[in-house]
């Protein structure tokens, strides 16, 4: 037999007589995170705690948060963590993953979503598919928090089924004229820039062809109306109408009729962002519930102890499966199945975990916990529903 690989001697031989003298070894961060990322995490946690969280109640009430928040994040150096340094970023997707997890502690899912949608969902297609000129015009100010972008794909009649979008872009001299409507666009009320999926051609053989992306500046013909929602109150989720909007040819993003690629390209990151956010959200609620249980008179019943143990296990499960998917993703490996699993696993789990926290609190539930529960309900819907995730997975198995 070939000699098996040897590394350090298994620690199983180094822990003789546990429960006696040896101090526990300081845990190392789970790959792909490094000690440097953990330092960043502490820094961001402090930022979220002092700069965002104090405003959470106010912003939820107002169903709005100020554009300043983007600039604060940019000034602290957190907005562009994933993007290359030449555009004002840090070129480190793992650091961006830290931000996603930590933003979930800001006390408002809407704020986390609003900030995350700009940097994590709307700007990546410009970075990935944009011309240098487009990057200078949109990505650079975007990462400074000076121009806010939103990604507009979903329509009133096209959600999970992206290929059925109907917003039309007619070719005219020097560009396009866009007509149609977009739905559930996070950041859509405030957005200066809408990265918009449009239909540029009717195609009989494949509905996937004929979709293009246009970068649409807010201007004449673009109108947005905020939508009331179950949760995510601080997020300005909008219905957007385009009425004969002229878009210059320079604003075509990527290849004409090749936009379906672009839709698919960022899904993995978007879903990872959601999985990371769910983990952060669960963890924050778990910690709050732990404090509540420890702090109240009468201690902890076995039933509550087990409920908390279940929550803790679900968080660990979600974290391990998500980090493994992230690891593959940042290593540049194809990770569709892993990311899909991480998204599917964490979204329902987060809602259920937070619901369990809510139940343990009973009449003592805080407004923040109640909000977290409503906010978490979007998880199994946004970024691809649980049912779409199952379709992707089932098909990956050849079914």
């Amino acid at each position: 037999m070939a000699r098996p690989p040897t590394r350090e001697p298994p620690p199983i031989f180094g822990h003789i007589g546990r429960g006696s003298t040896e101090p526990p070894t300081e845990p190392r961060p789970i790959p792909p995170f490094t000690p440097e990322h953990e330092r960043l995490r502490a820094e961001i946690r402090e930022f979220v705690q002092t700069r965002l969280r104090p405003h959470a109640d106010e912003w939820e009430q107002a169903e709005w948060f100020p554009n300043d928040a983007f600039r604060w994040l940019a000034e602290a150096g957190y907005l562009g963590l994933r993007f290359p340094a030449e555009y004002g970023g840090r070129g480190d997707p793992v650091a961006a993953a830290v931000l996603c997890e930590e933003l979930a502690r800001c006390g408002s899912g809407g704020v986390a979503a609003g900030l995350g949608a700009h940097a994590g969902i709307a700007l990546p297609p410009i970075w990935t598919f944009g011309s240098e000129e487009q990057k200078q015009r949109y990505l650079v100010p975007g990462l400074k928090g000076e121009k806010i972008a939103a990604l507009a794909i979903t329509e009133p009649d096209a959600g999970s089924d992206v290929a059925s979008i109907r917003t039309r872009a007619r070719r005219v001299d020097g560009g396009y004229v866009v007509d149609g409507a977009k739905m559930f666009i996070t950041g859509g009320v405030r957005a200066d820039v809408l990265v918009t999926a449009v239909r540029t051609a009717e195609s009989d053989d494949s509905r996937h062809r004929g979709i293009s992306f246009l970068i649409i500046d807010r201007g004449p013909g673009v109108s947005a109306a905020p939508l009331g929602k179950l949760g995510w109150h601080a997020s300005d989720t909008a219905e957007i109408a385009f009425d004969d909007v002229f878009v210059p040819a320079d604003n075509l993003l990527g290849a004409e009729d090749g936009g379906f690629y672009l839709v698919m390209a960022n899904f993995q990151w978007e879903r990872l962002v959601m999985a990371l956010g769910a983990i952060g959200g669960m963890q924050a609620c778990f910690e709050a519930t732990l404090r509540f249980v420890r702090g109240r008179d009468g201690g902890c019943s076995q039933s509550v102890r087990h409920q908390l143990a279940e929550i803790a296990m679900e968080i660990e499960a979600g974290r391990d499966v998500t980090y493994a998917a992230l690891q593959r993703f940042v290593a540049g490996q194809e990770a569709v199945r892993e990311v899909t699993i991480a998204k599917l696993k964490t979204q329902r789990a987060a809602f259920e975990a937070i619901d369990a926290c809510f139940q343990i609190h009973g009449r003592h539930a805080t407004p923040e916990l109640e909000r977290a529960l409503r906010d978490a309900r979007l998880g199994p819907i946004g970024g691809g529903t649980d049912e779409v995730m199952k379709e992707i997975l089932g098909r990956s198995l050849g079914l």
Partner: protein
Amino acid sequence: MASADVLKPDFATDRKHFIFNDDHEQLRESIRRFVIKELQPHAEEWEETTFPDWVFERMGELGFLGLDKPEEYGGQGGDYYTSLVLAEEIAHAHCGGLAMGLAVQTDMAMPPILAFGTEEQKQAWAAPAIRGTKILCIGITEPDAGSDVAGIKTRAVREEATGDYLINGSKTYITNGHRAHAIVLVTKTDPEAGSRMTRAAHDEARPDAERAPHEGFTLFIVPMDTEGVIREKRLKKLGMHASDTALLAFQDVRVPASAVLGQVGKGFYHIMWELQGERLIGAAGAVAGAQHVFDRTLQYAKERKAFGRSIGHFQVIRHKFAEMATKIETARQMVYTTAWRFQNGEYPVREITMAKLYAARIAVEVADECIQIHGGAGYMQEYGIERSWRDLRLNRIGAGTDEIMLDVIGRSYGL
């Protein structure tokens, strides 16, 4: 990045986890070849007869019983991940009882001998166990003490005149109990041991917190041919039919002081430490068992036709597979991440407990869903799915029940 660089799904790519390198994959290949060629063909027969002892000898010969054990005792000196590879690949035998019997040898009985034993004990028991010429078992559970480890009654009394110990008591549910040459036995040397302690899980989560109740337990290595060791009946079980499970009695069993394993009075700590390794490898086995029954069922769903198409192409069946794949992948990543922590010198009791709990549960759920997808065929012995269902059910009980796991996790947060 141009659109040509956009990664498209390729579900056939190498999906090796970062803890494994090419050497692990080669090892995986060679174990799998062996298991499929030499073990799997006998699976049906061994359900009736229990698996034969030559399996130990053959695997010892191939070096598979000492993958992560030190070379000085005949092991391969590999890292912890090599034992994970074995636990995963042995599932291809489709014989839960076999996997369990081997795991008792390599990951339950052997580690405490190697960790706490004297040089003499290691040479006498660990080395031949690695060669496969001696078979080991481990005795913790008693007729009146299961989850509540501190409640065991088997007594070892030191005889002042000779320094020998006299052991009296009984042990039950002992895997390999009939075939074993020696047992790693948990006893009470202090009659007061455990008397103030009724909550075993409390002990496990915080062995430091209240020291005194856990003192007074001692481990022994007892040769099974010692006079007074009585192998009582073979226990019949829901599943794991290929393993032999014993009820053992100890009547005035005399062993010399050199049979003490580790420190006198510290047996509880030793065994709690042992349980961590047992649970993690058990979790890996549960994941592998779930993957195995999943793979067989996927194959079936692609071939079985109903209403004019293969049943796997019905959406509800497809979604069942998606859910199962999610559970299995999640459990696997918990095992790998925890193994990584372990290999890096952490003693991650909480994470091991979580991985064990989650993996055990999902294995049972997956097996049940696989019976459902098979329909009537799943209920029949011929397809082997009902066997997986029966075998995997033990995971939620053995090496600590789900409920004990939840208590350990809860207590680890000071609750």
